[in-house]
Amino acid sequence: MRRSSRSLITLLLLFIAGLVAGPAMAQQSLNVQIVGGVKSATPVAVVPFAQQGAPLPTDIADVIRNDLNRCGKFRSLAVSEIVEQPSQGSDIKFATWRLLKQDYIVIGRIKDAGNGMVTVEYELWDVNRQQRLLGNAMPPASISDLRGVAHQIADAIFQQITGIPGAFWTRIAYVTMVGSGNNATYSLIVADSDGYNPQVVARSHEALLSPKWSPDGTRIAYVSFESGNSAVYIQNITTGSRQLISGRAKGINSAPAWSPDGTKLALSLSYTGNPEIYVMDLGSRQETRLTRSLAINTEPVWSPDGQSIYFTSDRSGRPQIYRMSAGGGTPERVSFQGQQNLDAAISYDSKQTAMVQANGNVYRIAIVDQSLGGQVRFLSPGPIDESPSFAPNASMLIYAATDGARDVLYAVSNDGLVRQRLALADGDVRQPSWGPYRKQ
């Protein structure tokens, strides 16, 4: 009796905590649309998975098809053209799929594992060689988590064919704003990489900015204006527990960036008079100031090896990207094309740097490719694009754009040819950040 009333109180407290900044709550879904397609992409047929019993909430083959399509490297056969539905390797008539000009075929079966759980088995076949490349049974999963299972299968297919780990089974964080002025509600949301399963991490009537995933995917650092001024917090996305990292009353507290080992946070703080880059050791809370100039120094980001920090500075008159040692030292300018360059993002292999490049009033996402001798290519059309963030395998990139009166997100294939628009029916979506590979 006593015990149960105590747990009731605990529950109640958890609920109250949840109202402020709390354990993830379900949230309105984003509209998801895929635009474009690539003729040269590899054709794959993903046959509907065989299943007995009550229909499931998720069409696994459909989730896999969308994943493969939106990364730009594959072109999945339309369901209407899938004329046969084999579910075992021995049932595949390869002549049919050759005639349909498919390079690969994916088949699968869903088996009831009891207690609302199912086991999903799948196979990937090379149509021309008539050879099985993959044949796996996924661990039993709840029917409410079948999108996650489908993303993991898409990852395995992607890796088998391209040699690069897939990044479909990952999450994104972003900020939504619904209403305006004093009635605005900002939400920090975490969702699957395709925009499904949105969960609220934090909510405020003042602006939320710059969410950044910890390298282990358990926490998000972000900026909140809830106190009236900007302040940087770190929040555990599972428990909702939160730490104030920098909330000085004077100046800007902003632009958090995790070191690759997760032990430090780079920040932009302006309590000395202008925004400078600092690094805080999260264990000791010790801050080290890295820049000294009268300019704006912000948007720090670590190189994947943790040795350098890139940042935006207008010390030369207009904002450009600079790089310095993660321990400090003299920064060197690294962006030279375009009138302005801001907010760098670095791919996992350091070969590509994405940034916002401005010419006149047009702000577009540009990628500087070191493996192509520093060649610059534009990934987005503008005019007000920002916040580039790479998927952990750099096969895709997500960024924020303004479409008329609405702020929306686009997830785009690395070649820029396939774009997925993520929008809210009655609000703005901003500040995307692509999370790391998932472990669970």
Binding site: N31, Q33, S180, D314, P319, L342, T402, G404
Partner: protein, 169 residues
């Protein structure tokens, strides 16, 4: 799932017709101040009191606008600087926050820096006219608090601003 599909359909309908997005265009609900040609601050006249904030033609002007990419307080706002600085002097208990803002061009984090620069410029101008730094607090909102959300210079010019907000008198 159902909900998602329904919302997606609404979006599809909107894609074809540009008018659909236009309709949601935000109405500029700018607390636009009248042009800055009003009332001379009466230098040397009697001391300001808290009541003058609501009645004095100069003190009622609380928004300073800036040119693109600039943080200089333009000459036409000098008069406003003078009367607010005089108010800070005459009412030593008064405190103000300068809310610095930027237009939508440029990234959110960089614009926090630009908004702060403008707030600091107004703070310097007030101090140059006799206000005390201890009475002034600068907060930058970057481009997070636009008064107008259209994508043109007319709208941008309304957003490049510092708002003077009295927090104590």
């Amino acid at each position: 799932m159902n909900k998602t599909v329904r919302i997606a359909l609404v979006a599809l309908l909107c894609v074809g017709a540009a008018a659909c997005t236009k309709k949601q265009e935000t109405k500029p609900q700018a607390p636009q101040q009248p042009e800055t040609t009003t009332a001379p601050a009466q230098p040397g006249a009697g001391k300001y009191t808290a009541a003058d904030l609501d009645t004095d033609a100069c003190l009622k002007q609380r928004v300073v606008y800036f040119d693109f990419d600039k943080d200089e307080v333009k000459p036409e706002f000098q008069q406003i600087m003078q009367c607010h600085a005089k108010f800070l002097q005459d009412v030593p208990t008064s405190r103000m926050t300068l809310d610095g803002n930027a237009d939508e061009r440029g990234t959110r984090e960089y614009n926090l820096g630009l908004g702060e620069r403008r707030g600091n410029a107004v703070s310097s101008a007030l101090q140059a006219n006799g206000g005390s730094a201890s009475q002034i607090n600068v907060i930058s909102h970057g481009k997070e608090k636009p008064v107008c959300r259209e994508h043109n210079e007319d709208c941008w010019s309304k957003n490049r601003r510092v708002e003077i907000v009295y927090t104590a008198t």
